[in-house]
């Protein structure tokens, strides 16, 4: 790979790596398999980058790859992330300090669990919206019209609210 592409790849990883990790987390609850999925996304990004001609933004490009790898991973791993979550129980944050970060940690864990429990089409729009993408950009990632994204997002937010309320009652 030419030096310029390598530098571009590094920059994209630096800028979008954390977001791509969170997208991977929306497809896989198990930590080891989640790391595998993230590596898959990085590999797919590396392979696809030479063909990227700037038809969309780099962020859209990276998110497309992450979601597409997530879909393939979901099929290969057999069973949904939500099913794994039920088996694994709630995701615990090993680094969180139970005394000082209990409340925030619990809120974030509940959000992640609620996102993982959403049906896939709703989960995709919610994750992209939580990452700060606008409706047009979400549409570019998923291949949907802006209006369609708006309708889906309204529905998905309702589902997320319900899932959060259910999580709070547990």
């Amino acid at each position: 790979m030419p030096r310029a592409l390598e530098e571009r790849y590094d920059r994209m990883l630096r800028e979008h790596g954390p977001a791509l990790r969170r997208v991977a987390a929306s497809y896989e609850a198990d930590p080891a398999r989640r790391e595998d999925l993230f590596q898959d996304v990085c590999l797919a990004l590396w392979q696809a980058l030479p063909r990227f001609r700037g038809e969309c933004s780099e962020r859209t490009f990276a998110f497309r790859i992450a979601h597409n790898r997530g879909l393939t991973h979901g099929w290969r791993a057999r069973g949904s992330a939500a099913a794994d979550l039920e088996e694994a129980g709630e995701i615990a944050d090993p680094r969180s300090d139970p005394e000082s970060e209990a409340f925030e940690g619990e809120r974030r864990t509940r959000l992640r669990s609620a996102v993982l429990r959403l049906p896939l089409p709703a989960r995709q729009v919610v994750v992209l919206s939580l990452e700060g993408l606008g409706n047009r950009e979400i549409g570019e990632v998923l291949g949907l019209s802006e209006n369609n994204v708006a309708v889906r997002l309204t529905r998905a937010r309702k589902l997320l609210r319900q899932a959060l309320e259910e999580g709070a009652r547990r």
Binding site: E15, G17, P18, Q39, R64, I65, T72, I91, R112, S129
Partner: protein, 200 residues
């Protein structure tokens, strides 16, 4: 305009979780990812090279002693094998046209192409028993002819070995094909369900 509740959720999402990593990603993490990606890319290149070598090896094997084949049974065996090889190769090439691995396409296009890849795989699985039948229709009479045309009669073990291998290979192919077909049908159903979700 983002409402405050959603903004708060966005902050929680982007801040938290066991895999939370600071943005931008640290240099040592990028180096670690690059090392892994390089290793896996190299593995994929080796795999592709292995496939090409296997195909070339088969062709070389078919042609290596062509100049020494003078008996009709050898020539018929050679021509029949080459024809079956070409039929399998042409079908495989034709069946793969237009379906690439669209990693960077939109999710909808990706799902559509993934479903199409499954349909093509199903077509391959429907084609395989016909190819197997054609191979057996050629190989069984040819093997009988080859064994009978030896200068000395072939012992029973040679007959058993020749037809035993043929039976075992056929059973393995049919069994493997049935398993793979079930898997492909399940996978196709999942992609089509996803596609319906995206079209709603």
């Amino acid at each position: 305009m983002i409402d405050p509740e959603w903004r708060s959720l966005m902050e929680d999402w982007q801040a938290g979780g066991p895999e939370a990593t600071p943005a931008p990603l640290p240099e040592n993490e990028i180096r670690r990812i690059r090392r892994k990606v390089r290793r896996r890319s190299f593995g994929l290149i080796l795999l592709a090279a292995g496939e090409i070598l296997a195909a070339l090896g088969t062709v070389a094997f078919l042609f290596h002693d062509l100049p020494h084949r003078h008996r009709p049974v050898d020539l018929v065996g050679f021509v029949g094998t080459v024809i079956l090889f070409i039929v399998a190769f042409v079908f495989s090439y034709w069946n793969r046209r237009g379906v690439w691995w669209p990693a960077a396409e939109s999710t909808r296009t990706f799902v559509e192409l993934s479903a199409e890849r499954c349909r093509r795989r199903r077509r391959t699985l429907r084609f395989c028993p016909w190819l197997l039948a054609a191979e057996l229709a050629f190989l069984i009479p040819w093997a009988v002819w080859a064994l009978l045309s030896r200068t000395e009669p072939a012992p029973l073990e040679t007959w058993l070995a020749a037809f035993g291998w043929m039976a075992l290979a056929s059973l393995a192919l049919l069994g493997g094909g049935a398993w793979y077909k079930r898997r492909t049908v399940r996978e196709l159903a999942e992609w089509e369900e996803l596609l319906r979700g995206l079209r709603e």
